[in-house]
Symmetry: C2
Subunit: 379 residues, 2 copies
């Protein structure tokens, strides 16, 4: 189906609004999804308009749905290490890392950003799966002396080339020195927050982790005031830009049926460290023999794709099924259709011609590297 | 806010459509929520219209989002017992039970229907939280010899006083003998399914657990053909009817911060059995002293409530905060506003006058028993 009807979202008590909810309504949010049982704005003026806002200026995203799992206590470092695939001993307080959480067979349960607030104090900033339940389950009947909880923390992303200007207006010039994946524990007008050089845009950007849910409207207004000279606009995680940049979406491109080596995320699995973590043994075996499937990029021919796959689109070569497309979009920047596909490894080399079976018919596609941003593909 | 704007839901690869998705579009679904990371239709012609369909005739609900956690293996019964608050030894194959899943402190993680397919084969039919992760986490590093997985099972509910007629047309007269919370493992035209005398409507009803996700459209059509003489209509879990009937919604009325005794669900906690389950020790202590808060019904004065709480509404008595409203609706059957509230126990007796602080102002309310269906309130 090329175009789906516009159908309203149901509002109700089961799905939480973020502290920025009323602000996003005032700014004209025009579509919502639900992520970690919270309302998540997905667009205001349209994903293509917001693509240009993001690559040219600065966008503010309500990502309050990125819930935090807070781990504290004497065994916080050991327990956090047991959950994540990165070597936690290499993460100093004030630093964050992108990491994976895997189950015993190596399947990916989430790909959070792990922040170390202190030696024995961690946050996992989650993609769309309930790692609070996983962490509590793993801790149950274990010897780890930890507390695991969801704190009052609501992230907002400030992304785009003018985001450093906006952030400097609020936090002063020191913010420009903040290293990639570093963060600061600060207050603004007395309101506590972490400010991190992180984000999901492929552009320069920041996340503010608001530590007082009653101050969402206030923070939103402060961000828009500070951003006015820089053409600040409301936005949301941009599916076009993240595809270009090669960012995977948990639940779309990967899940517990895929492993990090299939996804090209092996560099985030510290097999050679002393670290003991769930899935390490299975992942060592997969790393030794190599994955049987691989995530690849596809350049897809034909008219602009207006709706990516709701159900994975089959990919064929010489009439045989060889995998499926997980995400797909037209990009106005590259003036092309781009997609992610998981294909049998023997078809994953660059430059292979394959066919994508969409609900509207078959399209030819060429395999390519991820990210797509290589200048060869820029036009 | 009394009325929220109509804002479309975003369709994308992260949120799965059920096998009935295309059928629900054809039947004119007019709002979606997301439940267990799946699209869930919430209404077609409006919740009040569907209330009358449900109490007078028969409705078909796409509840494919009720995901199943399947537990099999030599220790399946022991492990399932460890997760749930009911005495599993009393559940024979072919029987199901409403149960709770609690964490160590007694907080409620989910309220599934537990079905025993065989001595060593169970399904947990979930409310909106990812018990697959909880179960896998608890099983990790344990001695239980079990497999835990999500099978290809998609439930659909057939609810209302004419549902036995519809079901008889498809499955024969034997279906009328099926006891409450019993189920049959059957095929229809060769397609495998469980048929259960369960549902979430407070009316007589059934659930079909389709065991082949490719046959959703076919089953939907068969149900509507069979239901045509009985004025069958598409519907969804009906918030009005479930409030009248006193059915709690996990995520709205209860969550990990509430325990079964606060919720009036103590009869589903088998403290006196030999069963060993997570939370039993904490729940025994709570049962001994009694809960400090209790879920009560409220009859709320004033105009019909058009939008229940997105954020819990405070409840006050003599100007002091004594709790909050979790769910609220106008009911056309009782011609009243009804609500659930969690109040400090000393305010939970019937007939107390309290105040509900809605975003549109304060309303007077009277505490009452749950369910509301007592003839005193029928008019």
């Amino acid at each position: 189906m090329s175009e789906l009807p516009q159908i309203p979202i149901a509002f109700g008590a089961r799905v939480r609004p973020s502290p920025f909810f009323e602000s996003t309504l005032s700014h004209g949010v025009s579509a919502f999804s639900i992520y970690n049982r919270m309302l998540m704005p997905t667009t205001y003026e349209g994903v293509e308009v917001e693509y240009w806002d993001l690559v040219n200026n600065v966008s503010i995203w309500d990502v309050g749905c990125e819930r935090q799992v807070e781990i504290v206590g004497p065994d916080a470092a050991l327990f956090t290490q047991y959950l994540v695939t990165r070597d936690v001993t290499k993460i100093k307080p004030g630093r964050a890392r992108y990491t994976l959480i895997c189950q015993e067979d190596g399947g990916i349960l989430n790909d959070p950003v792990l922040a170390r607030l202190a030696e024995d104090h961690f946050w996992l900033s989650l993609a769309d799966s309930d790692i609070l339940l996983w962490a509590k389950g793993v801790a149950h009947n274990s010897d780890f002396d930890v507390e695991i909880r969801e704190p009052d923390v609501s992230p907002v992303q400030i992304q785009g080339p003018k985001s450093p200007d906006l952030m400097q207006a609020l936090f002063g010039t020191a913010i420009r020195e903040l290293g990639f994946y570093n963060f600061l524990d600060v207050t603004l007008d007395g309101v506590p927050m972490l400010v991190a050089r992180t984000g999901w845009s492929g552009e320069v950007g920041y996340e503010i982790f608001l530590r007082d849910g009653s101050q969402g409207g206030w923070l939103w207004d402060r961000l828009f005031e500070a951003g006015q000279p820089y053409d600040v606009k409301p936005g949301a995680p941009n599916d076009i830009r993240r595809l270009e940049a090669g960012f995977l979406s948990w639940g779309s491109d990967m899940d517990s049926d895929t492993n990090p080596f299939e996804m090209g995320l092996g560099r985030f699995v510290d097999l050679d460290s002393e670290a003991d973590f769930i899935g390490k043994s299975a992942l060592s075996k997969i790393a030794a023999v190599g994955p049987t499937r691989r995530l690849v990029g596809l350049l897809v021919e034909g008219d602009p794709i207006v709706q990516g796959p709701l159900r994975r689109w089959p990919v064929t070569a010489s009439g045989e099924a060889i995998g499926f497309v997980t995400s797909a979009s037209w990009t106005p920047g590259m003036k092309r259709n781009i997609a992610f596909a998981i294909l049998e490894s023997q078809f994953s080399a660059e430059g292979q011609k394959v066919h994508v079976v969409t609900p509207d018919g078959e399209r030819t596609a060429i395999t390519t590297a991820i990210p797509f941003e290589d200048p060869r593909y820029r036009d």
